[in-house]
Structure formats: structure tokens, C-alpha cells
Symmetry: C2
Subunit: 265 residues, 2 copies
Amino acid sequence: MVSVASWNINSVRLRMPSVARFLEEQAPDVLCLQEIKCQEHQFPYDAFRALGYEHFAVHGQKGYHGVATVAKVPLREFSRHDWQANGEARHVGVELTDPAHQGMIIENVYVPAGGDEPDREINAKFGQKLDFLERMTRWADAVDRPTLILGDFNIAPLESDVWNHKQLLKVVSHTPLEVETLKRFMDAHGWTDLGRKHIPDPERYFSWWSYRSRDWRVNDRGRRLDHMWASPELAAKSIAHHVHEDCRSWEKPSDHVPLVTEFAL
Amino acid sequence: MVSVASWNINSVRLRMPSVARFLEEQAPDVLCLQEIKCQEHQFPYDAFRALGYEHFAVHGQKGYHGVATVAKVPLREFSRHDWQANGEARHVGVELTDPAHQGMIIENVYVPAGGDEPDREINAKFGQKLDFLERMTRWADAVDRPTLILGDFNIAPLESDVWNHKQLLKVVSHTPLEVETLKRFMDAHGWTDLGRKHIPDPERYFSWWSYRSRDWRVNDRGRRLDHMWASPELAAKSIAHHVHEDCRSWEKPSDHVPLVTEFAL
DNA sequence: GCGATACCTG
DNA sequence: CAGGTATCGC
């Protein structure tokens, strides 16, 4: 058995009290964080150690982005891609080294948000997002180990992944072009979308609610931007999946909530 | 009986919990704040009303400076000087209107800090500070009502007003030029320094400790920058004076602590 | 060190 | 709306 969590934390230093509460309450074996917004030397290692999480792979950066994978179980850093070679810290991969975990690979990814305008020509950030996915797709083609890829993909692919499909068709994160690009990434390896394996379409499933609405619960204008995808041999072993929506109501919340998947290894 | 407090609060909005605690514990009739760092429409009137302080004279400004006088007892705004006509909100005067208070005037002042270099020629801010005091001196010459002038004067005039006299002789706030200029202001009206009436020189008396020292208590590098001065007829009626040093140890403290004087009217 | 501001990003 | 950055002022 191994449980893996993913959470876009929007500053790990500011949010460490929430992270501690989550780890105390849910105790996943592995926690993958995105948008840690700090450099490696600023990462709160000691706070994690005090909670029993003593294994780390941190890919940090000053001010923006940054990902980290922390665990109660042994791991080794397996890869650290900079697919666009632009110095942005958007990926870290680990291998769980305990034999019980059968060499499971966990790829922690933070896909670029893509700016406001869904047009490659007039918005370079949108182009960067698509390019990032394309480079990840070429990489995924060669994945040959039991792999879980997860993180903030910044795309809500299904109609049921957003609070209003029609209204969001021209909003970055839900445009047909992004959805198709993400689909090609999925097909490149035959990933299984674990979220939708366990909470099937068209059931409501969101992982992010904007800070800009006064009360996120009132109109429930959420999107499913965070994902956990498994390679075929691993997908069959996922036995449970949880979306911790309550975290969105905690003090000083992240705009994302954590996802957790359990595997029977 | 009337008790009057003065406190450089360094952002009244951020510090409102401390202000509330102070008012609950000490309950002065009048509280004069400096460095409120907000505009009038941003002032937390309701929080004060909830504490029983329903009378206000607020002279605010965006981002910097700003003074406010709040009271449990009736007052009217008496004056609002901009002595240097530069738009900086550094003064508000009130008259206590209850007959029991005998028309007492309270002039709430925030003197410019004066920058780093104690030289009019190379540091305009130092010149501005001296000029401010000179203009206040000309004004004080004509004061003809029982007046309490108080606030952050940004000068520690006596040797015992600083943690190390010799070391601070060339540090803005304790230079001979500032001390002489402040002395001329004192003589222009014959003000009584109530702080030193009640806690006589050379007794230790500080009201400010820099944020920059790790633990303000360890080396106790304080200065007496805040003052309460009374015109002759009023000075005779001051019966007690307190420096609330403990506030410097509260959560998220101001770098100044409040002073309180009680008058037998 | 710790307020404020403005700007950038999500 | 809420993070980060930077600079300014005390």
C-alpha cells in the first residue's frame, strides 16, 4: 500500500501550517507540491521532518513556480527536467526505493498557466503552455517504468471538469486546443486519468476555485486543473482517490485543494 | 480627571488588535495616534466605536504619516495644521468640549524623522525636520489656551533619553542641533516636559526601540522619541505618567510604546 | 526589521 | 484576491 498526494500550495512557506494539518490528518506516504515559490535553501525541511517526512526532492526557484516531493518512505531523485530549457522549475521526478514500492516513479509537474488570451499568435504564454505539453508528450513516449505523473496541469479537459463548459470554451484552461494537446499527451503513453477512474465523468469534480470570488462555495465556480495519471500497469492498482475540498475553507487557503490516490502494491 | 495617551502605532489598520487590547487594559479617555498610515476613509472607526471610543479627529494620508485622536469623551477638531504646506498629515488639534475638561486643547503631532545624515546641506529631510520645528515654534508663540502637545517628536533631547549618549551624538534624533531646535520650541511657550516631570532625568526613559535589533530587551538600545508637553497652567495638574513598555513585546508590535498622562481637572 | 507602495503572475 | 518581487521610508 502506498498513498500519494498532490497539492498546488501557492507558497509552501506561507502555507506550512496548512500543510502540517493536512499531513497530520491524512498522512499520505508521499506529498507532491507545486508552486512552492521558494528556492531550495528556503524550503522548510525541518518542519517536514518534524512531521515524519524525511525524504525530499526539491526543485525550487526564486519567487515563481517550484515543485517538491516529500515522503515518509525512501525515495531518490530520478529526474529533473527543464523541458523548455528556460530555467523554470516545473518538474521533479522521484523513484520510491523501498522494494515494497516496486520501483514506482512519481513525476511531479507544474504546467504553465498560459496567460489570459487563448491565442498563440498574440499571447506568448499560451504558446509556451502548448509547447510545454508537446515536449512532455515526446518525453512520455519513452516512459518505460511504472509511473504516476501528477500535478497542476492547468487544464480542465472534460465538460464536467468546469462549472460551466460553454462559458469557459474561450477561457484558458478549457479551450479545445488545450484539451486536444493534453489528449495527445495522454495517448503518447496510454495514461489513465485516475481522478476520472474513481469519480467518473460527468460527476462534478473540481480541484481549484479562484481567489477572486468572494465566497468560493456560493456559486461553486471551480475547475479540475490538478490531475494524477498512471501508466497502465499502475492504474490497475489504484484503489481509492480523494479530493480534499475542505482545505479550500481553511485559514489562508491555497486556491487549489489536495488530491490523494491509494495504490495496492 | 482625564487621561490622555500617545502612541506612534505604525499602521493603525495592521495594529488594531493591539490598540484594542491597550484600550481595554488602560482605558485612557483620549488616545492620540501617529503614523496611522491610512487615509481617513480607511480609518477603523467601527472598531473604535465598539470599544467605546466614539469621538474622532483624523488627519490621514495615503501610505505615510497621518495622525488621529480618538476619545471616549466629547471633542471637536480644533485645528489641522500643515505647517510646511507640503500636504503631509502630521498634525491634528482637538478641544475637549465637556465642561469638566475646561476647554483643554490636545495637539497631536508627528515630527518628520529627518533621514540618515544629520546635515541640512546634504540631506533635505534633515532640513525639513528642523524647518518643521521652527514653524511649530513660531506657532507655539501664540498658543493662549491650556494645551497639551504630544506625539512622536523624533528627538531624544537628554543624555538619559538614549541608551548611549556619546554614540548617538551624530545620529539623527539626538544631535545637538536638533536638541537646541527642540529647546527653542519648548521656550517659545514655556512647555513642561511631563515625561521628565514624572520620571526625572537621569532616570532611564525610552519610548522607542528599533525593529532592527533581534531582541529589543537584550541590549535595550532605546530612545525617548515620544513626548507629552503641557502649557504651564495644565502641567501643574498632571498627576501621573506611565510608559507602557510591555506593548513592545506584544505580537506584531509597533516600534514605539504608548505613554499615558493623567490630569486632575 | 517592518510598514507602505507599485508591478507581475496566477 | 493573493502570492511573489522591488524600492522607499522610518
